[in-house]
Amino acid sequence: MDIYTDALADGFVLLTSGTVDVWTIVSTSLRVSGLAVAIALVVGLPLGMLLGLKRFIGRTAALIIFNAGMGLPPVFVGLLVAMTLSRRGPLGDLSLLYSQTAMVIAQVIIAVPIVVAISAAAVGAVPRELRWQAAALGAQRWRVGMLTLSEARVGLIAAVAGGFGAIISEVGAVQMVGGNLRGETRVMTTAIVEFTRKGDYGSALALALVLMAIVVAVNIALVSMQTSADKWDRP
């Protein structure tokens, strides 16, 4: 059992000693995944609303694709993005491989299907009569849309939680397109892999605990938002 206690002790020292490298890794993780989830929301919410509210030819196929996309293997996404951004790839001239931008691109691709599928289900569950009611009170189309988002906010928070949780904790894609460059593209998950491979369990465990703490803190915040939204639920 010493392996756990020793690692915990080392990890505690590492976190409290103010070692710059650890917090650089943590801030890179938050910056990359935060930006990726924000972009995924900008792209995914309108798509989710479209799929949840409108009926059109190809809608079912699109829903199947996005639902299946929730289980998209990150290594597959990493492979596609790496190939696309590699020197011989179609976007090779941009020289983005092994950059934070490449990592954001990969994470956006992973998060978008999650945001789309969950938000489509959430807005689709808002009764259409409620939208008629708003329109019948004179609401413009954009106001009806905002009301729908507000009514579906419990589900939308789940979409944010799902998207953020999936990308902050994934390792395959960021490893392949970021390259785990120290001070540049090293994030918590790739660093944990790196430290574990070197046998530095203390550093790995310290970062794993920070990662867990972030995931838990984000979810506490989101669940408390859901609970306050529930308070106003309809009879």
Partner: protein, 366 residues
């Protein structure tokens, strides 16, 4: 009080390819400030019609005219004059005040004025003091009152109600029907009230249109439509006897003599001799006497020998249908009276009713 707007539908067609259902209304008018009950069974097109009036959708053909001009869902200035209350309250998540003020917010009314008008609407619907409650704290009846307050707060010139009481229990429904009808009348708006309940229709509106399979089967004053249903289906739907055709054979001293089959029926009014008319008498206005009995002196002008053609229980009373020489009548009688008169199918009786109880209307052959 707002200035009401007249509503008119002309040649309106709205089809649904999948179900094959089509709404076809050649003409329907609701004069400014009046109230129309749109009656009909489930699936008859009432709600579709209301959606067209609320400018939530456009007809495939024909025109919807509000305030004297043709309008479409794109006419936001007209949409802002309309408010609708649906079968279920569909309150938005949030406070009750936010719900009632929603229509005002949409119209860009500033906050203090929004709250003042919302508070006034709460008072109108009898929910003063409810402003800070959450919608989850309301009973079904309260939620529907909030829904009405939400519509009234914008001071609409057209108020549309789509079976607003249908999801409530019968006792509460009757209470609220009277309240809602009074409030709607006092609002001054032109009101269209969709319902499948004829008693509710009589309470809430002064005009009635009956919708059947997407078409207007009857249209007129509530009294006329209920008392003079011109076809068997409408009569059956309303639970009354259908009006019969007759011909005016005499008219003098404010009395019209109408030939219905072999019988002669006297009605109050004046008409041209030879005119074709629809005529009906409400069952509750027809008194039955033993055949051949000595009649006291009475103001009832109509005394027709009749034969009972059927007798069936309707709640606490019996409903007798009668053939008076070709004039088909009905009468509601108490069980005690039926026993005393020994009423049964095939027995003879004397049907007595006043001329003022006879409803009649010239048939428009055009």
């Amino acid at each position: 009080m707002s200035t009401p707007l007249a509503i008119e539908l002309l040649g309106v067609r709205r089809g649904f390819a999948r179900s094959g259902f089509a709404l076809e209304v050649d003409r329907l008018e609701v004069p400014a400030g009046s109230s129309l009950a749109l009656l009909g069974p489930s699936g008859s097109g009432k709600s579709t019609l209301l959606h067209l009036l609320a400018l939530l959708e456009a007809p495939d053909a024909g025109s919807v005219r509000i305030g004297g001009r043709e309008v479409t869902p794109a006419d936001r200035d007209v949409r802002l004059q309309i408010a609708a209350v649906f079968q279920r309250p569909y309150l938005f998540k949030g406070s009750v005040l936010a719900n009632v003020a929603y229509g005002l917010k949409v119209r860009g009314v500033e906050r203090t004025e929004r709250e003042r008008r919302a508070t006034a609407a709460f008072e109108t619907v009898g929910l003063a003091g409810y402003e800070t409650r959450g919608v989850a704290q309301l009973s079904g009846g309260e939620a529907q009152r909030v829904s009405l307050a939400r519509a009234l707060a914008i001071e609409p010139r057209v108020l549309l109600l789509d079976e607003p009481l249908a999801s409530l229990d019968p006792l509460l429904r009757r209470q609220l029907a009277r309240d809602f009808a009074r409030i709607a009348r006092e609002s001054g708006a032109t009101t269209v009230w969709v319902t499948h309940d004829q008693d509710e229709a009589l309470i809430v509106a002064d005009r009635t249109a009956v919708l059947r399979d997407g078409r207007i089967a009857a249209h007129g004053s509530a009294d006329d439509v209920m008392a003079l249903p011109v076809d068997e289906w409408t009569a059956a739907f309303l639970g009354v006897a259908a009006a019969q055709r007759g011909r005016v054979v005499g008219s003098a001293d404010g009395l019209v003599e109408i030939a219905v089959g072999e019988a002669r029926v006297f009605a109050s009014g004046e008409a041209e001799i030879g005119a074709e008319v629809h005529v009906a008498v409400r069952p509750e206005d027809v008194l039955l006497f033993a055949a051949g009995s000595e009649m006291p002196v009475t103001t009832a002008r109509n005394r027709l020998p009749a034969r009972v053609t059927s007798l069936e229980p309707r709640g606490a009373t019996l409903y007798a249908t009668l053939d008076a020489g070709g004039a088909l009548l009905a009468s509601t009688v108490s069980r005690a009276a039926a026993t005393e008169l020994a009423l049964a199918t095939g027995t003879d009786t004397l049907a007595v009713f006043k001329a003022t109880a006879v409803r009649w209307r010239p048939i428009d052959n055009g």
